[in-house]
């Protein structure tokens, strides 16, 4: 999975491309840690994620909870069909803030 980060706006944009499975969780967590204590909104673009499993999902939940504790949020942007399905299966579509685009 490739992780691209844009920080030129007040709300950082993290764009994920490829497969987000248990093998990728450490890399994702490390990248997200830099925004952990910011009270900003962090946008995670999921339009190019072609596979996500419960481990990937768990990392999104973890970063969202941490961000909210700091007064911020993790917003899921433009989730692909694959991602939408798993969010619905787990009812996490009710927990996340989801936007159709970035």
């Amino acid at each position: 999975m490739e992780i691209a980060i844009e920080t030129d706006s007040p709300s950082p944009l993290v764009t994920l491309t490829g497969r987000f499975d248990s093998f990728e969780t450490a890399q994702f967590r490390e990248k997200m840690d830099q925004f952990a204590d910011q009270s900003h909104e962090i946008r995670v673009h999921l339009g190019a994620v072609n596979f996500i499993d419960s481990s990937g999902l768990a990392e999104l939940v973890r970063s969202m909870k941490r961000s909210r504790e700091a007064g911020g949020d993790v917003v899921l942007c433009a989730p692909s069909q694959t991602v939408r399905v798993i969010l619905e299966l787990t009812r996490l579509d009710m927990a996340f803030t989801i936007r159709p685009d970035a």
Partner: protein, 541 residues
Amino acid sequence: MSAVPSAPDPLSAVTAALVESNDRLLGLIGLTGAAFRSLEEDELLDTVVWPTIELLQLEQCTIGGAIERHWTTTTADATTADAHVWQTSRELDSGRLELLVTRSAEPFGTADTKILEAVANLLGNSIRIARMHADRLTQAVVEREHAQAARLTATALPLTDQPPEIDGVDLWVHARPARTTGGDLFTWFAIDDRIWFAVGDVSGKGLPAAVLMSVAVTMVEAAIHRHHVDGIEHVGDATNRWCFQRFSDADMFLTLAVGCIDPATATAQVMNFGHSPVLVVSPAASKRLEASAPPIGVLLDIQAQVTHLQLSEGDTIALGTDGLTEQFNAAGQAFGEDPFDTLLHASACSPDAATLGQTVLAAVDSHAGGTEQSDDQTLMLVRYSPAARTSTSPQLTIDATHLALRTLGPWLAGALNEFADQGLIERCGEIELALHEVATNVVDHAYAGGADGDQMTIDLRLIDNKLIARICDQGRPFVDPGTRPDPDDPQVRGYGLMIVEQLASTIEQASGSYGNRWTLSFESRPVALPRNTPPNPKGTS
């Protein structure tokens, strides 16, 4: 020995008598001390007769009656008319024994006749011993031939290591004859995508039971081939009609359980003619299939009931013979029917029929503790196993690491494109996700993260357009804790099995010393996406 010089004085006469008496005693000792070097009748008689002739200075000795033998020390016709004759007879099992002896030298005195009576007894006993020995030899030969013939009747049975191959049924049989054949039989066939099977036991033991066993198994097979289209009741009826006369004439009977499994409909039918033990073994609840008719050969007109069963994955029809339940231990206790049922039920989650069967045999052997098997032991297991792998079902073995799980998707897509319909191919991503989630659990829990050599195997089967996927490992048994995250309180764990539950139509898990086995099924059409009501957490989250 008796040629003592004539002496007129009384002292010499007494001395002569003593010497003669001593000679006789020595001769008698020689006679009674003669070692029998053979158990052949002729040689035995020679061993007795020749010392007697020498002892009593006989010229002729003739045995007549049941056997005829003649001994002589003179040339033919030398017996003079004035020779002294003595005879006696004995009644033997094999007929009358006549003994006739002659000598010219002097008449037979009291001492001579006593010796001759003893010799007659000895001859009678020698003949008895020789005859008994000959009978024993004949009997041993006959027994060996019986045993060989009884063993040869087993060639009427199918080979135990070549079960018929059919999708969705896992077959295993074990047939262990006793030293004296007990008359157990079994057979099995795959006809029109169904499995037919039978286990029976002919009453009695030895060659008669073995011969009728080979007749019976032929009849059962003929009935199955001729009537499988008509239905199991016709198979049972034909077997009974064809076997009745033969068994009735022999005063014997046959206990028989015959059945068939149709994997396409997950149904089984069984008819039980007085046979036990017969069970359907299921992790949920096992039950005995009691006899619904008397044994075959007892009544010509019988109306046997057919037991109809609806099977679930892993259900096993177990057909044994009483050689298993009645196996004794050193204390004379039988294994017992109830412990047999309990054992099978406790082993219901075995990964396959062979494992289940070996468990049962090991328990019976352990009970016996070396006590000889007194009857044939036969155990057949017919397991409805839609996920049972055959050589044609796609199979993938991968290392138990998170990285290796990535090969799952491309392999699944290739396999589905090869053999599944469009409805399943369109669900490829969802199916991959479900298998991936189970496999992740295997890596994390069965193998605690995975080490070198840890592997898991995934195989696929199609049954009625349903995809049956099985994931097997040899790791630590683990159980689904059953807890699911509360949607109002997002968690960082526990979503995996929740996802699997949403995607698969059925999930079954079995664990044991062999590891873990997950069996998931997927419908061809897309399953409905989540209902508006979230699934209830099964435990605290």
